[in-house]
């Protein structure tokens, strides 16, 4: 159903885009039809729609589907430029955002990714912006939590070698954990679609470790947890990043390991955000489910872009507008852009995975 809706929206976007070609507008890049990413893409789309509605504007951005691939992202970004986009919201993943950065620089059209955490996404590029913390920040927070709160001393790191996100998060965590006098016992690589990676967690359990960082995406981690059977599994604490946003993983983890924690961008129980409750209530009323990280980040990103969008400006002008965002109140935190296109002081949420329910809010840390 979601895919059908998304396809219709894309068609609509193309038609509208075709009709209003070259009129300055806002573009949106999301993976709406990808097998792997469409779940997150559609959650983000729902956050986008709510933001458009809440902004009270008649103005309708153009949405393009990336198909969840790098080449699809490049083609979709190009299409948005042809259709007159002078600023783009999205894409949501690190690899797609890195590709978007190349196109953005070439056309001098800025993009704001709500959720791509790869450090290099915004590096040395005046047209690349993000509304979330990066992997370095998340890794610092996670490493400090693991060492100081959980007192984990010896950790294995399991990394998806096929994604920049996983490799980036794993590397940053290893460095941060080592700086905290922790020991990285091993880094074990896998490829998500490689059947031989099923036993990775058993290999981890066979090591002399207190736990492991599973730096991949939630669905892949869930598959590995499900396949694992080592007798020491129940002694391990597993850690993850924001890519763990997976119901499947939340269900299986508490039944297999001693404990599990992961970072995220947003939690409905975050007591420090006064704006969270109204947003959660509105979103839940519309969609019958509480908002996810992607929905919340996209909601913030869309409202922020629409608040600074000026149809009289070209891409360079819009980049300056994004650059000038200060103290902007979002549901995921208060955002001020630094000169590198990253938000300053974006909080990092830590969640604990518990049996029989949604993850529990643990704490929110600042960089």
């Amino acid at each position: 159903m979601r895919q059908r809706v998304a396809a219709l929206l894309v068609l609509f976007g193309l038609l509208v885009g075709g009709c209003v070609e070259r009129k300055p507008t806002v573009g949106v890049l999301l993976p709406l039809t990808s097998d792997d990413l469409s779940g997150w893409g559609n959650e983000a789309y729902e956050g986008f729609m709510l933001a458009v509605e809440d902004s009270g504007t008649e103005f309708q951005p153009i949405v393009q589907d990336t198909g969840g691939t790098v080449s699809g992202t490049i083609g979709a970004f190009e299409a948005l430029v042809r259709q007159g986009a002078t600023v783009v919201i999205g894409p949501i993943g690190t690899d797609a955002a890195k590709a978007a950065a190349v196109v953005a620089r070439r056309h001098q059209v800025p993009f704001l990714t709500p959720s791509a955490t790869g450090v290099e996404v915004t590096a040395d590029n005046p047209f690349a912006f993000r509304f979330c913390y990066d992997d370095g920040d998340a890794a610092e927070a996670l490493a400090a939590f693991a060492r100081q709160t959980l007192d984990l001393k010896r950790i294995a790191v399991v990394v998806d070698l096929g994604t920049s996100y996983s490799v980036g998060l794993a590397g940053a965590f290893e460095e941060a954990f080592s700086r905290q006098r922790g020991v990285i016992v091993a880094e074990i690589g896998y490829w998500a679609d490689d059947p031989s990676s099923a036993d990775v967690l058993d290999r981890v359990a066979a090591l002399d470790v207190d736990g492991a960082l599973m730096a991949g995406y939630g669905g892949d981690v869930a598959r590995m947890v499900r396949a694992a059977s080592h007798e020491r599994l129940g002694e391990l604490v597993l850690l993850g990043g924001d890519g763990w946003d997976s119901d499947e993983l939340r269900e299986i983890l508490p039944t297999k390991v001693r404990d599990a924690y992961h970072t995220s961008h947003f939690h409905v129980d975050d007591p420090r955000e006064a704006s969270v409750t109204p947003f959660v209530e509105r979103y839940t009323a519309v969609h019958q489910v509480p908002p996810s990280d992607f929905a919340a980040l996209m909601y913030d990103s869309t409202r922020a872009v629409l608040s600074v969008f000026d149809p009289s400006l070209d891409g360079v002008g819009m980049a300056k507008r994004l650059d000038s965002i200060r103290e902007w109140p979002g549901v995921t935190g208060v955002i001020s852009m630094n000169p590198e296109g990253n938000p300053t002081e974006k909080g990092i949420v830590l969640e604990r995975v518990i049996l029989g329910g949604p993850s529990r809010f643990v704490e929110r840390t600042s960089r």
């Binding site: 790098v70 080449s71 070439r106 096929g162 590397g171 080592s178 700086r179 490829w191």
Partner: protein, 678 residues
């Protein structure tokens, strides 16, 4: 006689004893049991070789003794204050004996000029020059002269006796010794194949074994520290040259056989027979070639008049170090003329091409020392020696490697014809491009393509040039981008179809095509679009290696992985490093060491370090230590972990490199490594 005792005695068998025993066996007239004889005399082959060598010497010199003034110069004879004890060697200038100086009771090396040579004024001059030159010098790294006499029919030079080997011997022995899989190798003594690993393990070896009664007989080389030993020898030799140059003397014949390595590991510079004063500004005359062909500087080798100064010695010492490190002469020729021609015209292969495990810093030092232009070399022996010591102390060296542009410029200077042809190739590309623009010129284009096709036989290269030309002429950036995406898609489709060979072929040329067409602007787009395909290619190659049944086929796939290791994208490089760490071989290890030096991204560097640790070959520990001066603490941290993994029993290098590291968490990790508290 008990067999054991007989065998024991046989280990000291002299040729004479062997012959005597053989005669005795023959006398009792019973069949010779060859196996029994070999058991009794396990070193018989060496003894027989010694007999043969001695016979050769006799044949070569006419006699091992010299008759002068009615006196025999031979073992036991006396020459003035010296009694001959034994032969050391035979050089171009006559025999060298070990002798006792009777008045002082000390052992010396006595170089005796053959009586016939006394009629050769040039030889006498050379002999005198050596004596007077060295007499001005007093340096622990220069063989001292104790006495000299040249009068009538008698000419000899009494010198400091150095027990050991010259570097030419060492290179020869290393070329022939079984070094594979060994850390320690015995390069002198009766049996080179003795495995000395057990004896040497845990001992600190600078390169040779000082008089340890338990030590194997001979000089032991620690192969793991070999390049540092070689650099240390060259640094000491540079010190000797600094002293000689400071006293106004140019040696002019620096080569391995004139550098002696004593048994206590010290190098000594000898044979100043061709030495010349720096102040003597007379030019080398045409055809007046002096020195040893393989080691002379281009200005010495040149037929043109050229000024020879101390930088010629620096060059020759650089060539010597090159040979020590690679066991190859950089300018080996089929004859003297060929060698001299190469010295003047050819660039030697970089040492790491011959021995990939060598330090790139050390290579840079060597290549600077053997620059053809004296102005580009180290300008003094002090500069040369100081840079070598910086390398030995893990400090940044001052020499800078010649970059690609520098190499290109030098190559263009020397190989004008080749570059003219290359220019023609580029012209063809441009012409093709122009013809492609002119839509109606397809016929002419095909004619030219046929011509190009006759010149360039490799269809892949031809195809790459052709499609690059098409990309180059397409003036629309959108269209260029579209074609790049198409090319990337094509590679992905080929991979999906399982045509791995073709994928690798396309990946080899696609960067070139895009660079030709779009310059650096196309690279980021290509990198983004091909990243996941390249990662999948690494996996496909890994699977292919798993299926491969032949060593040759396996190496071919490993080569493909090694190429992917050089990819500028750190994710691709990391994938290649991980797989090479699992399935790589010793050649891959060399490529990993190269990658360690070449990569400037921390993800790639750390991945390469992990792969090196996974392969676990301690012989590359020094190369790993070379990058410990990285300003990035995360890289240094991995250097520490890698060294710890490579040297579980010997933490000496770890200590040298990390004892003073001021980063707290690295220091903490270092202490854990020292204490073995994992």
């Amino acid at each position: 006689m008990p067999p054991d005792r007989e065998t024991d005695r046989s280990t000291h068998a002299t040729p004479a004893r062997v012959v005597r025993d053989m005669s005795r066996v023959l006398e009792v007239d019973h069949p010779i049991d060859a196996d029994e004889f070999r058991r009794r005399y396990p070193r018989l082959p060496d003894a027989l070789k010694a007999i043969h060598r001695r016979a050769e010497r006799r044949a070569g010199s006419g006699a091992s003794t010299d008759v002068r003034d009615g006196r025999h110069v031979g073992i036991g004879s006396e020459l003035d204050d010296y009694r001959i004890i034994g032969e050391i060697g035979r050089g171009g200038m006559g025999m060298v004996y070990e002798a006792e100086q009777l008045s002082l009771g000390r052992r010396v090396a006595l170089k005796v000029l053959p009586s016939g040579a006394l009629r050769n004024q040039r030889a006498v001059d050379r002999f005198r020059r050596e004596a007077t030159a060295v007499a001005r010098l007093s340096h622990p790294r220069i063989v001292a002269v104790h006495g000299f006499n040249i009068s009538g029919d008698s000419a000899y030079l009494a010198m400091e006796l150095v027990r050991g080997l010259d570097l030419a011997d060492i290179v020869d022995k290393l070329r022939s010794a079984r070094t594979h899989g060994r850390r320690f190798v015995l390069i002198s003594g009766p049996d080179l194949d003795v495995d000395v690993s057990e004896w040497a393990r845990g001992r600190k070896l600078v390169g040779t074994v000082p008089g340890d009664p338990r030590a194997p007989e001979g000089i032991v080389i620690d192969l793991r520290n070999y390049q540092h030993m070689a650099a240390s020898i060259a640094a000491d030799a540079a010190d000797a040259l600094r002293h000689a140059h400071a006293h106004g003397i140019i040696h002019r014949d620096i080569k391995p056989s004139n550098l002696l390595l004593s048994e206590n590991g010290h190098v000594k510079l000898s044979d100043f027979g061709l030495a010349k004063g720096i102040e003597d500004q007379s030019l080398t005359k045409t055809g007046d070639f002096v020195g040893s062909p393989a080691y002379v500087s281009p200005e010495q080798a040149s037929s043109r008049r050229a000024r020879i100064d101390e930088r010629s010695d620096i060059y020759s010492l650089g060539v010597t170090l090159y040979e020590l490190l690679t066991l190859h002469q950089p300018f080996a020729g089929k004859d003297v003329a060929d060698a001299l021609r190469k010295i003047i015209t050819k660039d030697p292969p970089p040492p790491t091409r011959i021995n990939p495990r060598l330090s790139r810093d050390l290579e840079t030092i060597v290549m600077k020392a053997i620059e053809k232009d004296p102005d580009k070399r180290y300008q003094s022996a002090a500069e040369f020696g100081d840079d070598l010591r910086r390398f030995l102390n893990y400090e940044p060296i001052l020499a800078r490697p010649l970059g690609p542009i520098g190499r290109l410029a030098r190559s263009m200077q020397r190989n004008r014809i080749t570059w003219a042809l290359a220019g023609m190739g580029l012209t063809i590309v441009a012409l093709l491009a122009a013809l492609t623009v002119q839509g109606g010129s397809g016929g002419r284009a095909s004619v030219i393509l046929q011509e190009v096709g006759r010149t360039i036989s490799d269809p892949e290269t031809l195809g790459a040039l052709q499609s690059a030309s098409e990309l180059a002429v397409d003036l629309s950036p959108d269209e260029r981008q579209r074609r790049i995406l198409e090319m990337a898609d094509e590679v992905t489709r080929l991979l999906d179809a399982g045509d791995l060979e073709l994928v690798l072929q396309r990946l080899r040329t696609i960067d070139v095509k895009v660079a030709l067409a779009m310059g650096s602007a196309g690279a980021p787009l290509l990198a983004e679009t091909l990243r996941s395909t390249k990662v999948r290619t690494v996996r496909a190659v890994r699977d292919a290696i798993g299926r491969e049944t032949t060593a040759q086929g396996r190496r071919r796939w490993l080569l493909a992985l090694e190429r992917l290791l050089g990819d500028p994208d750190s994710l691709v490089a990391k994938n290649a490093a991980v797989v090479l760490g699992e399935v790589g071989d010793s050649t891959s290890l060399g490529r990993l060491v190269d990658a360690l030096r070449e990569r400037d991204d921390r993800v790639g560097k750390v991945a390469v370090l992990r792969a090196i640790a996974a392969l676990g070959d301690p012989s590359v520990a020094e190369h790993v230590a070379d990058i410990a001066r990285s300003p990035d603490p995360w890289v240094r941290f991995h250097v520490l972990e890698t060294l710890e993994a490579l040297q579980p029993e010997d933490l000496e290098l770890l200590t040298v490199v990390f004892r003073g590291d001021e980063t707290g968490w690295i220091q903490h990790r270092y202490r854990m490594a020292r204490e073995g508290d994992r």
